[in-house]
């Protein structure tokens, strides 16, 4: 489809240019969430935005998703400026936000259904992603009846089932216990390697960032901008106890600590 896709040269797929965002404060004046925010994401790259809590990571994702628009500057995805939400940008949210009135299957097939895909076809597709996140057998369960980890799996399957070109993940594992979190990270890597997408993953957990990322952007506190950039070339699947892993962990932790 695109000429640039030939060969191994990856082009800048998402471009954030001079992005600044402000909100009116409760009392008066403006609260600046981000300024001078510049970064690009390559096609099929797994980019992790890493920064302290409340630093505006979610705001960046919300702007790329199109829920909020930058006060100034621009965000383009595949050459198109973001002007609102769209089906080509899927999101996995921080807390599970499954529709409680629908079953697991109902939630996963929701995207294709909204776009008018026929029942047989969308069921088949939904089943594929339900299997991919390891939830076969739970198709007819309602969200209230399944665990937090399973809910996030459904959230991931639901986002994938709509086949977006960009996957935005807002601390999807932040509310899970440590054990489940490791498991989900492993599974997410497997899914990503099978179904490549451009992923922007937000986290405040350094190990998670290192385990998943092709590249890590370290963000500053509000107003947030890119403080440092790390390309992670460790082979996958990564080992949390690998000396190189630990060295990077220490290095990046120090950078972040200075910003606090």
């Amino acid at each position: 489809m695109r000429m640039e896709q030939t060969g191994k040269v990856k082009k800048d797929f998402i471009v954030c240019k001079d992005v600044m965002e402000e909100f009116p404060k409760a009392d008066e004046g403006m609260f600046r969430v981000a300024e001078n925010l510049n970064f690009t994401v390559k096609e099929n790259e797994f980019l992790v935005l890493f920064g302290p809590g409340q630093c505006g990571k979610t705001s960046i994702l919300n702007m790329i998703a199109g829920f909020d628009l930058p006060t100034s500057g621009s965000i383009t995805v595949d050459g198109q400026e973001v002007k609102g939400p769209g089906a080509e940008r899927g999101m996995v949210f921080q807390t599970t936000c499954l529709f409680p009135w629908l079953t697991v299957m109902g939630n996963v097939e929701y995207g294709p259904k909204v776009r008018g895909v026929g029942k047989k076809e969308r069921r088949k597709k939904a089943q594929h992603y339900i299997d991919l996140v390891g939830l076969q057998g739970f198709e007819n369960h309602f969200p209230v009846k399944i665990s937090g980890g399973m809910k996030q799996r459904v959230g991931i399957a639901r986002a994938y089932c709509n086949e977006p070109v960009v996957m935005l993940m807002d601390e999807p594992f932040g509310h899970l216990d440590a054990q489940t979190r490791y498991l989900m990270q492993e599974d997410l890597m497997k899914i990503w390697e099978r179904e490549k997408r451009t992923v922007i993953f937000v986290t405040n957990n350094i190990e998670e960032a290192l385990y998943l990322a092709d590249r890590i952007l370290v963000l500053t506190n509000c107003p947030t901008k890119v403080k440092a950039e790390y390309k992670i070339d460790l082979p996958r699947p990564r080992d949390y106890t690998d000396p190189d892993f630990l060295k990077l962990r220490k290095e990046i932790s120090e950078v972040v600590d200075h910003t606090l």
């Binding site: 829920f67 939400p85 999101m91 929701y110 995207g111 909204v114 009846k145």
Partner: protein
Amino acid sequence: MQKKKSKYLWILSAVTVVFVLFIWWLVTDGLGIFTSNTLPSPIKIVQAFIKKLTDPNPDGATLGAHLLSSLKIVLSGYLLGVVIGIPMGIVMAWYEKADLMIRPVFDMIRTVPGIAWVPVMVVFCGIGFTSKAIVIFIGAVVANVINAYSGIKQTKQVHLWVGATFGASNWQLLTKIALPSAFPMIINGLKLSLGGAWTTIVAAELLASNRGIGYMIQQARGILRPDIIIVGMFVIGIVGSLLMLPISLLEKKVMKGGKW
């Protein structure tokens, strides 16, 4: 274990009912503390009930005829109120312009309690069917508008975002996300307004009527027939709870996955 336990729990309720009936019998026929002219015994109530089924004395109609008259008014006013109130609440919550247009009139109407409409309606339409049906209708519209409105307004932003990332249209966001979100509140409105309608009809019939359960009670009071008054009260209670049944069934059917 739990199933075995709940199987016999109804005995507790049965014991209470039997106990209350026994005390009632004891203070009336048993020990003669109250005479039939003040508090008739349970046996006399049953006798009065059976007699009233076929005997139009002393108020000109049988129990069935009174009940039918009350039910006709309640159901016509209530159903019309539901059919108009729920869509109105939804439209007001979803389209700001509709809200601005309807709200001034609605706010004036909602603060007047149902029963306060009776005098003016009697002046307009007499003491028959129409005046009371309109009063019931007003009460039902108000409760259903308020509940449908709050239900839609309480739709989680994140759910709407999910819909937006799936490319849902405004209409799909309303029908496929906001409406199911609002369902528990809408059911709540249905229940509240039905209770309100049933209360209002009895009160309205006490004030102005020539037929109906409230009228029957009022007439019995005039000629000192406490047995008929109490029969009327039981009928109100039992029919009122029977009317709730279809709503509870609907609630169970739609919310089979648990509450949200």
